[in-house]
Amino acid sequence: MASTDALFQPLTIRRCTIRNRVMSTSHAPSYGKDGMPQLRYQLYHEEKAKGGIGLTSVGGSSSVAPDSPAALWNQLDIGEDKVIPFLQEFSERVHRHGAKIFCQITHMGRRTRWDAENWMATIAPSPLREPSHRSFPKEMEDWDIRRVQQDYAAAARRLKEGGFDGVEVLADSHLPGQFWSPHVNRRTDGYGGSTENRSRFTLELFEQVRKAIGDDMVFGIRMSGDELLDDGITPEEAIKLARIHVGQGCIDYLNINCSHVYTERGLANLIPNMSMPVAPYLALASLIKREIGTVPVFHAGRIPDVNTAARAVAEGHVDMVAMTRAHIADPHIVNKLREGRVDDIRQCVGAGYCIDRIYVGGDAICIQNPATGREATLPHIVPKGQGGKKVVVIGGGPAGMEAARVSAERGHQVVLFEKAGALGGQITLAGKADWREGLNGITRWLQGQLRKLGVDVRLATLATVEAVEAEDPDIVVVATGGHPNLNEVKAQPGHVVSTWDILNGTVAPGENVLLFDDHADHHGPSVASFLVKRGSKVEIVTPERKLMVEVGMTNFPHYLRDLYKSKAVITPDTRLTEVYPEGNKLVAVLVNEYTDEEEERVVDQVVVEHGTLPDDEIYFRLKPLSRNLGEVDMRRLRDRLPQEIVRHPDGRFMLFRVGDAVACRNIHAALYDSLRLCLTF
């Protein structure tokens, strides 16, 4: 216990006393609605407050002006007074549980799209194209500078009126940072050139913000301590900038980041995924704290566990330690720590699904915690129910483990059959792809919970109809997952292998390998990287316009780096139609998606990724014995109501399918299927 004590010392900044050293940094979960923090947004943060967090900083990249559109990631629009009542409700909700609430405000400058929301040209200190949003900004005029500064100050005032404890200006890669970074600022007037000139915009800005909020409210900035660019902000420059601005006396804390987000590669570094070590930039934050010394330093960056967090504070590297994604995975970290239940903390695995989702698909949800962002309808702590039923779960992958966990939490007696010798299902498989090993954390937590809940887990046991009937269950949940689908490529058995075969080691990597990825998710590229690291020469072929369109920004840059480094060939817009043998080689027939032109490759091995087909044999055998004949009332499922369909009154149990046993999807879908269904048991 003693070692995590450091986290439980309150920190006082101005009049704001934060109850402990654990925080969530501002992020844009894409939960805003019409630019307002409405119920979903508020409940998402209230949950962290309930869970014991000291400070939750909300409203990542909240907009202050019309030409910094909030609509892009459903951010908050703090640019109009109509947000104030929402802010008041929001801050009350968080304060009720003893946590403090800050909000980040920003003008994104060129880091946005001109075709979003208001269709206004983006602006920047200099008219340099921003790669990530492909925007060509307008060079800011004197009145642009003036109005934007006023917009910031007005937004800060709204936060004060909204009862917020603090306001944070996001500098790095956004407009203030665009002024600071020589990489972006090429101005020759008083706002460009020397560090002092590049600081002019922000010095004026910070003074106006402080004036708008008065002396009580906390005001801090988030800045990059190292942009990792040759012509960007170096640590020396960052220290200089920090000194100048802290010296001004308007700001109260520094929230230190590393990298930049001008490009997707930069962003992948800024938000480190599971391929990167824990706390990769702590030393940078520590350096700035040592150099500046007079204001508290906050820091986020893959600090997933309480021990690392405690060390960061105890050793004096930082004053507030952010566990941002860690709280997306488990908003109750602090309470669990306080209660001595560290084992119960669902630790962020760094899959980056949350952040990737805001670029691919919509809203930030956690790969392993389906309740996050759905607090209005799904609980983070499964309430105990009436219990008393016998639930049989078939399959110990994510869907099955979650079904067993939730059923047991509801108070039922649960038996789980797993045919393999260990739990995990496809997570275990995916985790074999080198740095994807971190995914196993999902299994570890679920397995630990099953143990605590006393679920009867029967490994290496095939669930037969007789075995299921012998348990005399009230409910049977089939979570048998699936098997690779190799049917869509014309080939003799054995001439194409699956990504599973490669990861499982049932087939040794060939020398020249053609990998056909018709899934566009992690599977193809992770197996391709697996192959190249084992010496294969790989060509990865996809009918898509580019590789892994379903993989987001914190992950795909890592795959591409691996593939390009090993000289893998990437062939988009192309479909594999047939494979046939020729001598001891294989011929792969490729067809261009747009011209129908055919070409052939002679290779040693063809690997196909085309998702899975359900393992549904046991389901169909049990179906006639069940009361509902397997039927699901979709509306009631959506509305989290108990399933009541009876098609066969003599049936002895209700029967449901979850996860990939229904259709090929992903870990989150599997868990979500089970959580919302089993909560009604």
């Binding site: 439980f8 309150p10 003893g98 001595g340 009436q386």
Partner: protein
């Protein structure tokens, strides 16, 4: 000479012998330190103390109680009548028959004594106690024989009749055995026991209302602090030790003894008794069970020799294994105060020798430096509560209810319970204020570890702080704090109304200010009495009534209430950490498990830490306030922090 004369002669001889012995014993008692004794009040209270307080304890063992009524009642009656019949020679059948009956009663009592001896439970001592039944029986039989002529059923056969000679011999032996025992054997309990009831240093424990279990303060300027030798005890405490009947009821209740730690409360008392009667003794003839784990040990001592020493009668480990749970005191039919003795002995070890074992010296050093045993800065006490915005008494100056945080505020387990209490109390509309960094450790632990100097220093400081503010009551989640403020502070000049949070929660619930979820269908729970709330402060009912308001399904452990087993966390025992083959908290959790309840409810931060620390397949440990919070009709998470 008539046979009646023989009886007279024997009895007079025995009386003389007894007198010599008793005078010697009295001389021994007088060597103790002076004590203020209210003789008149004590004498007046004697019948009540004997018939009510002693009887209440004795009666817990039905067999022993009947045995005692017959043997002792018969004997006392017989002795009274003997004076008339044989002393004054009044040979009336109106006196002789009752005397005969008294002898028969005694005889029956003696038979019960002997029957129990035949299959002696190990808690009972052997040795001279084994002869005791024979002596009483022989005495009654001999007396009966010589009383028969006076009843008129037979003529006096004369002293020289062989049967008379045999009975005379029996009477002589038994009378002298009993007389000698008045100073040196089992009969001493009658004399010292009665005297102990008159001169008892804790008169309040006999009152009908709650016990006041204060520890007596000592004068820190005295030439010797605490007790080293028997003669350092106040004389009435020497009398007290002599009252011991070696029944072993204390031993049977002692958690440390049960855990196999080298502590036996009976041996502690017997050692004091043994040592005070001689210049030099050793315990080779001690007839009870030996110190657990030190069965072969031989200890030496004497009236002016150290009691606690490596080769002394009491091994140092015995002193430091005690959790001060008072189970022994509660069980003792002779109203003996083992814990007082242990504290007195600890005081000498701590203050004069600095011989505190384990992690206790470090804790006391932290206490000296930081005013709390965790060595934290005073301001840190509020760390876990900043978000509750508890008003500081320094700012508000007066409050109805002052929440004393205690050192549980530094511990995550304690914090959780306290936060739950604050949440529930506020939910019910109660206003609380705290001292914040002005609050110091109460000194309770220091006092129990024998560091009276620190206790007095801290008590004075806290009393001075409290004097600056107005409040009606002090509430705390920690029974040790409660006991300290309520019972130990008055002697230091601090008089407060102190309540446990369970009592406050009960008030709120009974006033209808807390609404609970329907209690049906909740898993069974069992309540663990904290020693310092239960035995030390007599509060057994309030927490139980509170729990019963939450729903049905409360079950009791075999040992509960007055006989509850300690969690092992009191008296600094976790710090002195005397090893033993078993752990007290493990045994307590086994008690809880045996009830098949899913949850064991605790009402003390120390109990929570001790019992929560037991790993394995045991019931869950929940603190009362946490449970109340969880069972509120409003979901706990909605109850604002």
């Amino acid at each position: 000479m008539g046979s009646g004369g023989v009886v007279l002669l024997i009895l007079l001889g025995a009386l003389g012998w007894a007198l010599i012995g008793v005078l010697g014993r009295i001389a021994g008692w007088r060597a103790g330190r002076p004590a203020k004794v209210d003789w008149l009040a004590g004498l007046l209270a004697l019948p009540r103390r004997y018939l009510v307080n002693v009887h209440e304890v004795v009666a817990r063992d039905r067999y022993a109680s009947t045995m005692h009524v017959m043997a002792a009642g018969g004997l006392v009656l017989a002795l009274l009548l003997v004076v008339l019949v044989h002393g004054f020679g009044i040979a009336s059948p109106w006196l002789a028959w009752p005397l005969l009956l008294a002898c028969v009663l005694t005889l029956l009592g003696a038979e019960r004594v002997l029957r129990r001896r035949a299959d002696r439970p190990p808690r009972l001592s052997g040795g001279r106690w084994n002869r005791f039944g024979w002596a009483i029986g022989g005495f009654a039989l001999g007396l009966a024989w010589f009383t028969l002529p006076a009843t008129g059923v037979m003529a006096d056969p004369g002293l020289l009749h062989p049967v008379s000679l045999a009975f005379a011999a029996l009477l002589a032996w038994s009378a002298f055995e009993l007389a000698d025992g008045l100073a040196h054997g089992p009969m001493r309990h009658a004399l010292a026991g009665a005297l102990n009831l008159v001169t008892h240093p804790r008169a309040p424990r006999f009152s009908a209302d709650r016990p006041v279990a204060a520890i007596h303060p000592i004068d820190l300027d005295a030439p010797r602090l605490g007790v080293e030798t028997p003669q350092d005890f106040a004389w009435n405490r020497l009398v007290m030790a002599d009252a011991c009947v070696a029944c072993g009821r204390c031993e049977e209740q002692c958690p440390a003894f049960a855990a196999g730690q080298p502590l036996d409360p009976k041996f502690v008392i017997r050692a004091i008794s043994m040592a005070q009667g001689a210049d030099h003794v050793d315990d080779r003839h001690y007839a009870g069970r030996r110190w657990p784990g030190l069965e072969r040990r031989v200890g030496e001592g004497g009236a002016a020799r150290p009691l606690v020493a490596d080769g002394g009668l009491i091994p140092p480990a015995a002193l430091w294994a005690c959790t001060t749970c008072r189970a022994c005191v509660e069980a003792c039919p002779m109203m003996i105060e083992h814990v007082d003795a242990i504290i007195d002995l600890r005081r000498f070890q701590t203050l004069e020798l600095g011989a505190v074992p384990g992690k206790a010296p470090a804790a006391l050093a932290e206490l000296a430096a930081a005013d709390n045993i965790h060595g934290r800065a005073a301001a840190r006490r509020m760390d876990a509560f900043v978000d509750l915005d508890l008003p500081l008494l320094r700012e508000v100056e007066s409050t109805d209810l002052l929440l004393w945080l205690g050192d549980g505020a530094f511990d995550p387990r304690g914090q959780r319970a306290m936060r739950a209490f604050v949440q529930v109390a506020r939910h019910a509309g109660l206003e609380l204020a705290v001292l914040g960094e002005e609050e110091l450790d109460t000194g309770d632990l220091a006092r129990r570890l024998g560091d009276e100097a620190q206790f007095q220093r801290l008590a004075e400081a806290n009393i001075a702080t409290l004097a600056r503010y107005r409040f009606r009551r002090i509430v705390t989640t920690d029974p040790h704090v409660l006991n300290s403020l309520r019972n130990d502070y008055p002697a230091m000049g601090g008089h407060y109304e102190v309540v446990h949070h369970t009592a406050v929660l009960l008030e709120l619930a009974e006033e209808g200010r807390l609404k609970f979820q329907p209690g049906e269908g909740q898993a069974a729970l069992t309540y663990h009495d904290p020693c310092y709330l239960g035995r030390w402060n007599g509060e057994f009912e309030a927490p139980r009534r509170l729990l019963d308001l939450l729903g049905p399904g409360r079950v009791e452990m075999a040992r509960h209430g007055r006989t509850a087993r300690c969690c092992g966390g009191g008296g600094g025992a976790p710090l002195t950490d005397i090893p033993g083959p078993r752990r007290i908290p493990d045994m307590r959790m086994a008690d809880a498990k045996a009830t098949r309840a899913g949850t064991v409810v605790v009402a003390c931060p120390n109990c929570a830490v001790m019992l929560d620390g037991v790993t394995g397949d045991y019931p869950a440990v929940t603190e009362v306030a946490e449970l109340v919070l969880a069972r509120l009709a409003v979901p706990a998470e909605r109850v604002a922090a």
